[in-house]
């Protein structure tokens, strides 16, 4: 029996054949309508609007409801709430806040707007605080995605994210190192239903959380910066060694 490495699986994706043969036919179907004379298109649009209006009015009258209810029913059927809810994605079961001595939240992680950078040097130059890097990383590891939070005013925020891509025995996996500037005398308020284990990172106390799906997260605060290191592939001990080298 052959055994597949991740590299071989990636090659299979790359060589998976394109079996779509009706390319010209579909292209004609999709784009020919756009080349009809303008007047003809307008007449068709008007006809469709009139038809939809007629169907809508008949529907409203026959259901005996209001026009708004008829429209809602036509658009969503009877399960609007159910359909909308199904688009919600489960969020992460680990969240945290950085709290300073006066209990004021100074950083809110998981901001949505980020700017990407091509190199670590560019990222470090743009970041509003000194970004630290691990001196120890597994072999065959390279920076992959580098980004800094972008605030609505255009300036960079206190949320810096580095994703490394690593290769081991043909398996590609990622290591994340996120850094949040926390300010002086900040503490971490970690909220999770998963067990939290305390581990020393050098002389600093770190918190280790392993989620049920196998991702290990380590949190610690050093020099006014909160670090979060995580991987779904590496063991806790390996991650702790990386953490100590930051």
């Amino acid at each position: 029996m052959s055994r597949y490495t991740e590299h071989e699986i990636r090659n299979l994706f790359a060589t998976f054949p394109n079996e779509f043969i009706n390319h010209d036919q579909l292209k004609a179907k999709l784009f020919s309508r756009q080349e009809e004379p303008q007047a003809g298109r307008h007449a068709k649009v008007l006809f469709r609007v009139a038809l939809i209006a007629a169907i809508f009015m008949v529907f409203a009258v026959t259901t005996g409801g209001t026009l708004v209810a008829a429209l809602q029913s036509l658009l969503f059927g009877n399960s609007t709430a159910e359909q909308l809810a199904s688009f919600e994605e489960p969020s992460t079961a680990i969240s945290f806040r950085i709290v300073n001595r006066s209990d004021r939240v100074t950083a809110a992680p998981e901001s949505s707007a980020f700017q990407s950078f091509e190199t670590i040097v560019e990222l470090q130059a743009a970041a509003p605080f000194p970004v630290k890097l691990p001196t120890h990383l597994p072999d065959n590891t390279a920076p992959d995605l580098l980004s800094i939070q972008k605030l609505p005013g255009g300036e960079y925020g206190h949320d810096v994210r580095i994703h490394y891509k690593a290769l081991s025995d043909g398996n590609e996996y990622s290591i994340g190192l996120f850094q949040y500037y926390a300010g002086s005398e900040a503490s971490l308020d970690l909220q999770t239903t998963y067990p939290i284990q305390k581990n020393n990172i050098g002389e600093i106390e770190g918190l280790v959380v392993s989620d049920p799906e196998g991702t290990v997260h380590i949190y610690w605060i050093k020099d006014e910066v909160l670090f979060e290191l995580f991987s779904g592939y590496l063991e806790v001990d390996t991650l702790l060694t990386i953490a100590e080298s930051v």
Partner: protein, 180 residues
């Protein structure tokens, strides 16, 4: 390469949609092909994706993501409808991947490659929907992790974890390390 408009006021015109079609129709087709298991459904969904893209081209907003993210978000939404109609996790009988005869490969090598592609398609069907989508967005659509996160509406961190875990599961299935 299709360039994403950089301002929100710059709407997509038909020439851009055509260019998008030329560049991405093969990737969108294979994305659906490996998701649904059949060529027929993949063709229908490919057609529906570009019909929707044409209809919504004036609503494209560059500040929310690239053209690729927009296109594959449409594709993913259509897949949700497909699975909702077909019943969750239901797949039609798997088509064998057809291969164009290549003069560069010996017949036995081609047969082996065809068999490996069949195994890949079958293993993908055993993955949870989100894992499969993330993997196909990466390895078939060619999206980056940050773009995959936008299509899946999860954080970048979650997307990278979903990808790593999904590939681990896929590899285990293909190597028959887990019961099918």
């Amino acid at each position: 390469m299709v360039t994403t408009p950089t301002t929100t006021s710059e709407q997509l015109d038909m020439a851009q949609i055509r260019a998008l079609y030329e560049e991405y129709h093969s990737r969108v087709f294979r994305f659906f092909r490996l998701h649904t298991g059949t060529k027929e459904w993949a063709e229908e969904l490919l057609s529906a994706t570009f019909e929707r893209a044409i209809a919504n081209r004036r609503r494209f907003n560059a500040s929310k993501g690239t053209l690729e993210v927009w296109l594959f978000t449409i594709a993913r939404n259509l897949l949700r409808d497909y699975f909702r109609k077909a019943g969750k996790h239901r797949h039609d009988a798997l088509d064998a991947a057809s291969h164009i005869i290549s003069a560069e490969k010996a017949p036995d090598e081609q047969a082996m490659l065809q068999e490996e592609h069949r195994q890949l398609a079958e293993a993908l069907r055993l993955l949870p929907d989100r894992d499969r989508t993330a993997i196909l967005l990466k390895h078939i659509a060619g999206l980056r992790t940050a773009e995959i996160a936008k299509v899946l509406q999860v954080t970048e961190k979650n997307a990278s974890v979903i990808l790593a875990r999904g590939m681990k599961k896929l590899r285990a299935i293909m190597n028959e390390e887990v019961p099918k």
